[in-house]
């Protein structure tokens, strides 16, 4: 007998519906899975057979064929275990075929029939909702993330026995529906992000952090060890406005596909902070692998990617950031697949100014010119070109650390960011832009129009500071954000001067 069960496979951070067709007919006893299955799926037949046997169900000695349609799409996931089992049970007429109609199945099965968590449940359920499906049965551990999708009945299953029982009786108490209200989740889950008030001194670096968060500008912090570079970076996610529901669903999808969802959580409701170690490979950073997986930069989507000790990162890893920084997403093409993951993040970098960390304080730094230039030379020019702001931290004196005087707090800084964000939202309504940092050179003249006095100042800056065309544009973009923070429609001389003081192309980097 032939049956058709619904499931889905991942494609990037989206999912495609897959029909699991099962046929049991007379002939030489065998069990075949066709339809471009990956090795995980080919192994499924052993898991399915044992799980059924251990639940007291005997597999008929017949020719069993399972087809995953569409057949030309490669599928690698253990999540087909459950739909294949259900397909066989219906084909065996153990469960009436009509009972499984319109229900999507997803899950890995253990040899004892236990149903285990899989990756990418949220994108699958979102795709199912789009395809008009009303009910999904997924592993219990994954149920919360699926439950946020509106108009969808999501049931979490722990073992095969309960799924079968439910499909025979439709008794709600066997597989209770899992509910989640996104609004409630947002309130519950706003987890703790440390406050900028803990950072004493370093007001200039904090100011740079505000500008960075306000205009989505990438930021490079230099300074001796222990001056608070990482401390500042960790607090930047707290300056960004809260995620909207659609941003949150997008980010949750990425986490779900990467298998990084925290247990029991249904949504990623906060801006994330990704700080990979400098030994990370290019592939781990941008994603890829034999089975496509999002990399760290996609996990930092709409959030902060922090690269501490920038010169220590491998050249491959850093160079691979170039495309995502431009396009806000990453395309990964391999022989077996081609996927696109979103990657729209603020790049925050930190580094020591020289191998020992104390340059330009010649009293403490004994690195030779050669050592310093070799150290700085490790940072590739193209990446430095994509950094809008550069700020230097200095060693904080003991008095400041011990003093009770708190620095500017996150609350105050968040307000500045919010002001600049609403200015940008207003300005970019109906354009392709979202933030000042995205502004292309062609549109800068229009959007960052300067008065006569400001134009003269810019000319003066261009000559005196020996700017390149690129850094000229960079100053304009940053100045626009500074003006936005002050809710000023026009860019003033003060804005330009401040922007110029953060320019990263000092002689120091040449």
């Amino acid at each position: 007998m032939f049956t058709d069960t619904l499931s889905a496979t991942l494609q990037g951070i989206n999912a495609l519906m897959v029909h699991v067709e099962t046929d049991i007919s007379n002939g030489m006893p065998m069990f075949n899975i066709v339809g471009s299955p990956g090795s995980e799926i080919r192994e499924a037949k052993d898991r399915v057979r044992s799980a059924l046997k251990n639940n007291g169900i005997k597999i008929p000695t017949a020719r069993i064929t399972v087809n995953l349609s569409p057949g030309d799409l490669r599928k690698d996931s253990t999540s087909f275990d459950l739909p294949i089992t259900i397909g066989m049970l219906t084909a065996m007429e153990y469960i009436p075929g009509k009972n499984t109609e319109g229900i999507l199945f997803l899950g890995e099965i253990g040899l004892n029939g236990e149903i285990r968590a899989v990756r990418g449940v949220l994108p699958v359920i979102m795709a199912a909702a789009k395809a008009g499906i009303k009910e999904c049965i997924v592993p219990l551990d994954n149920a919360p993330e699926g439950a946020v999708v509106p108009d969808m009945t999501v049931r979490g299953a722990q073992d095969l026995k309960s799924v079968i029982e439910y499909l025979l009786t439709f008794d709600d108490s066997i597989l209770p529906r899992v509910n989640a209200d996104p609004d409630m989740l947002f309130e519950e889950n706003s987890s703790f992000i440390p406050d900028f008030g803990d950072v004493r001194g370093q007001e200039r670096a904090k100011r740079a952090a505000v500008i960075s968060a306000a205009g989505f500008h990438s930021l490079l912090m230099t300074g001796p060890p222990g001056t608070g570079k990482s401390m500042i970076a960790r607090r930047i996610p707290g300056l960004l406005p809260p995620l909207t529901l659609s941003e949150s669903l997008e980010l949750t999808s990425i986490y779900s596909v990467a298998g990084k969802m925290p247990k029991g959580r249904s949504l990623i409701c906060n801006r994330t902070f990704q700080a990979p170690h400098h030994t990370i490979t290019g592939r781990a950073l941008v994603g890829g692998g034999p089975v496509p997986m999002p990399g760290i930069i996609s996990l930092a989507h709409r959030s902060v990617l922090f690269l501490d000790e920038l010169p220590e990162f491998g050249r491959d890893a850093i160079e691979s950031l170039r495309q995502p920084l431009e396009e806000k997403s990453i395309h990964i093409n391999r022989i077996k697949y081609s996927v696109e993951y979103p990657a729209d993040f603020i790049l925050i970098c930190a580094m020591n100014p020289c191998p020992c960390g104390y340059y330009p304080d010649r009293n403490r730094c004994r690195c030779s010119e050669n050592e310093i230039s070799r150290y700085l030379g490790k940072i590739s020019g193209p990446i430095l070109d994509r950094i809008d702001l550069c700020t230097e931290l200095r060693a904080v004196e003991l008095g400041e650390i011990k003093g009770d005087k708190k620095g500017t707090g996150s609350e105050q800084m968040r307000e500045m960011v919010a002001r600049a964000r609403s200015m940008q939202k207003e300005r970019f309504k109906g354009t392709k832009y979202r933030f000042n940092a995205d502004l292309k050179a062609d549109d800068l003249g229009e959007i960052c129009r300067l008065g006569k006095k400001e134009d003269e100042l810019m000319e003066n800056l261009y000559r005196k500071l020996e700017l390149s065309a690129r850094s000229y544009h960079r100053i304009l973009r940053v100045a626009r954000t500074i003006a936005d923070i002050e809710e000023s429609a026009d860019i003033s001389c003060a804005h330009l001067l401040e922007a110029a003081s953060y320019r990263p192309d000092l002689e120091y980097f040449r």
Partner: protein, 407 residues
Amino acid sequence: MEADELLQINVPECERPYAFWLVSVPWIGQGAVPALLKAFGSPEEIYKRSDDELRYGKSRKNGIEALLEYRRTHDIFSEYERFLKSGMKLTFVWDMDYPGRLLHIPDPPIALFYYGNLPEKDRLSVAVIGARMCSGYGAKLAGELGSELGKNGVNVISGMAAGIDGISQMAALSSGGASYGVLGSGADICYPESNRTLYERLKENGGIISSYPPGTKAIAGFFPPRNRIVSGLADAVVVLEARARSGTLITVNMALEQGRDIYAAPGRLGDELSAGCNGLIGHGASVYLSPEIFMRDLFEDHADRLSSGKPAIAFEKNYIRTNFDSACDKRHRGYDCEKEREPALDESHLNVYRQLSLYPQSAEEIDEKLRQQKILSPGETGICLILMELCLDDLAIQVSSGQFCRK
């Protein structure tokens, strides 16, 4: 063998290839060649001796072996021909054009290989030396002194190293003066490579001098002997920045042996890069206060040479009258003249400008200073804006993204 004795040797033109052979290996000890000359009389005589005869005696073995090896493997006449065609020049201690100043130092180099010229006998020469990894403060002093010396026709002698050496030499050239670089490698090798521009310009206006034969690679052991040539070629030695233990101080020791005047630029106590200089002052070196004062002292000390009939530089006495009286007296009158030198700025800019010094500072530090002096501070961001404006007016320099100093 003293220089006087060496001078007695009469080496006819036809013996030059033999003499060239004697100085063609870099690691032959300074004493070895004079000892050979003393023993055998002339370069040709030495060349004609057998290996065993030359090996005999106290001469340093490695050097002699290298010399013998060179004799075995090379045809010294064609090597000398080739050298003559290369454009590099060579002077021996017994030659007329050998720098007179070097004749009076212990251990004068037997030969000097050079491009360009040798320092003129009748012009004052000053060695400006200091740390390779210098601070902005040292770099600024080196630039000032170099250009003042260059403007007034005083030769600047130095080692063409990174840092103080190169900066002062470049400044002298840029202000129209001449400068001489003494290398610890062959004169045809530019070391360090980063000073390539300076190297080329020194060939044009001044010279590149080395006691090592062409093709010699720079190794650490070659630098102390070259330092004695740096100080030997100079009438006075100025140390602008040096650590407590540094190569610069080796030069100073040699200069003392040679009887040269030592000047040292004072620095802040606790600054490692000034520790050597401050130590020198403690030991009685003259204090370097400003280019003007230094020039006055220099001309006064060497007044006899300037007036003793040798062609002197005419403007030197005038210099003392005009430049010194006006410029450096002012420096000494103190605060009043500082104010006079201040640019026309408004109150807030002036307040920030006054806090700037040659040592780089951050906006935060300036903010703190203003608060301590009970002056209304425009806040860190405000100070930054003012600093940027000062940069645009050429009154300040942004040395790194957060630090500024006075220009």
